[in-house]
């Protein structure tokens, strides 16, 4: 096969079908960018899980004076010194417990003020409204139920709260959004696929004279189909290239320069995660159109 001949066929084909080629490139680019984006979002969620699960604790909130009126668990009034000692001792005895910290009402107040220093709520609270608590770090964060069953009904304990639950909700939300993105990506891929099929069809039709002559003089079907398949693959490659640029741009402008400044609490995915996704996008971007073209041609370019 003569490379020059094939190349000139391809460039003629791509130019003749410029609008369709453009449509293929854009739809491939968008669907692959979405695909890459949702892969990275998944990566981001698991990064965040790893980071946060390390930090989360089980909090055993103790009753204070104010709770005595508002919370039935604390009907017997504020926690006593004796109750506190007992709780702490038993917490330390539990096998699943790694460490136990005590957070006094004053400390809780300080933390609260730090966290919400820009909020008007910060000034409206006083230290004696805050709750004392034991912060329990577990050896295995999933064993939270053990602590809950042991302490939630105990006098002086207002509530046993697993911070992981709060995070779970967030992660579920993120996963839901991710699934939605995957769904949109699937639709976009179908659109891209149909566009490719149609483009190849139009391309084959507009060159039926050439291909007819090629058939007559005995060109192999491989030789006849190759320019069409390469055309589709090149359009797909350009689309995949744009998708890669979109992802790299998203990482640089959206995450590194903007989100990372605004939200210091989250550690974002690194460049290595992005670079892991790009080859996958390019492979899909080249192979999918090529395979689609191949099967389209089997129908429209009979030997």
């Amino acid at each position: 096969m003569r490379a020059q001949f094939v190349l000139s066929e391809i460039s003629v084909g791509l130019r003749r079908n410029l609008t369709m080629t453009f449509a293929v490139i854009v739809s491939v680019a968008l669907s692959l960018a979405l695909a890459g984006g949702s892969l990275l979002a998944r990566e981001q969620v698991s990064t965040m899980k790893g980071y946060w699960y390390d930090k989360v604790q089980v909090s055993v909130y103790l009753c204070n004076e104010n709770d005595a009126e508002s919370d039935p668990n604390c009907a017997k009034g504020a926690v006593t010194e004796e109750q506190k000692q007992q709780i702490q001792a038993e917490l330390k005895k539990l096998r699943v417990v790694d460490k136990v910290y005590h957070e006094s009402a004053d400390e809780a107040f300080k933390h609260y003020q730090e966290q919400f220093k820009d909020s008007p709520l910060a000034d409206s609270l006083t230290p004696d409204q805050m709750q004392e608590s034991y912060r329990v770090k577990l050896k295995d964060p999933t064993k939270y139920r053990v602590v809950q069953t042991a302490f939630s009904e105990r006098p002086g304990v207002q509530e046993v709260q697993d911070q992981r639950n709060l995070l779970e909700n967030l992660f579920n939300l993120l996963n839901g959004m991710n699934i939605a993105a995957l769904f949109v990506m699937g639709l976009m891929l179908v659109v891209a696929l149909l566009l490719i099929v149609n483009t190849v069809r139009v391309s084959a039709f507009s060159r039926r004279r050439e291909t007819g002559i090629m058939r007559l003089v005995g060109a192999s079907s491989f030789y006849i189909q190759m320019p069409f398949i390469l055309e589709a693959a090149i359009a797909g490659l350009i689309g995949a290239g744009f998708a890669c640029v979109l992802l790299l741009g998203g990482k640089f402008f959206l995450i590194d320069s903007w989100l990372a400044d605004k939200i210091a609490l989250i550690n974002f995915i690194g460049w290595d995660a992005v670079f892991k996704v790009l080859p996958l996008l390019i492979a899909v971007g080249v192979l999918m159109p090529a395979v689609a073209a191949f099967f389209t041609l089997r129908k429209y370019l009979k030997v």
């Binding site: 001949f5 004279r209 007819g212 002559i213 090629m214 003089v217 005995g218 030789y223």
Partner: protein, 229 residues
């Protein structure tokens, strides 16, 4: 060269078969006219030889090969040993005369050196020396058909199939084309030509095969076109 053994061909959704029980043989080096009114099965006959269609019944042998047993991927190889010429020339309008001939050689993978040598040779042979760089649109019908013949002959085929090659040409030009085909025939290439041109058939006095409603009704050496047409 070509052998038909009780070949029938029917197309789906048509009651009457396009060819019905046709048996004949064409020897190497022969020049055969294929005549018959429209719809008599001439085109089907040629399409079977080119293996654009497969016979419904019977066997078609071309160049010693049973076409029914020829697998799809070997068909291109077989077609390289055939040349084909059509009424509508089938040239590429955006390529020059020389490029049109070269195209046929390129797509079967000939080397550039071979192409550079072959193209002027065959163009000289068909009498188009010096018109290599003209576009098909600038040529007369007869000249365009000569380009098509040059393309068909470039690969030195054993067998040349011509489907009404003079159908679009005036009588005088047709005579020139026939002389050219005769010359190609004399180099040893078998020629099978479907035609409606009574004058040409009567003049050339070659073997005539006549089809009527899909049946072989006449096979005459040194024949004439016919009587009632």
């Amino acid at each position: 060269m070509i052998r038909f053994d009780s070949v029938s061909k029917s197309y789906p959704k048509q009651n009457r078969p396009a060819l019905h029980d046709v048996s004949l043989e064409v020897e190497r080096g022969e020049f055969v006219f294929l005549v018959g009114s429209s719809g008599s099965g001439k085109s089907t006959f040629l399409r079977l030889i080119l293996r654009e269609e497969r016979a419904s019944q019977g066997q078609v042998h071309v160049l010693g090969k049973d076409l029914a047993r020829l697998s799809n991927w070997k068909v291109p190889q077989m077609r390289r040993q055939l040349g084909t010429v059509f009424q509508d020339f089938r040239l590429l309008a955006n390529k020059t005369v020389a490029e049109n001939v070269a195209f046929a050689l390129e797509v079967i993978g000939k080397s550039r050196g071979q192409i550079r040598k072959t193209v002027p040779e065959v163009l000289d042979l068909v009498g188009l020396g010096g018109k290599e760089d003209r576009m098909p649109g600038e040529l007369s019908g007869g000249e365009q058909q000569r380009v098509a013949i040059a393309r068909a002959f470039a690969n030195r085929p054993m067998l040349l199939i011509a489907d009404e090659p003079t159908g679009n040409l005036d009588p005088q030009t047709s005579v020139g084309i026939m002389k050219l085909l005769d010359r190609i025939n004399r180099t040893g290439t078998t020629v099978v030509m479907a035609t409606h041109d009574q004058q040409i058939v009567d003049q050339m006095r070659k073997r005539v095969i006549e089809l009527e409603r899909g049946r072989l009704v006449r096979d005459q050496s040194r024949g004439v076109y016919g009587y009632q047409h």
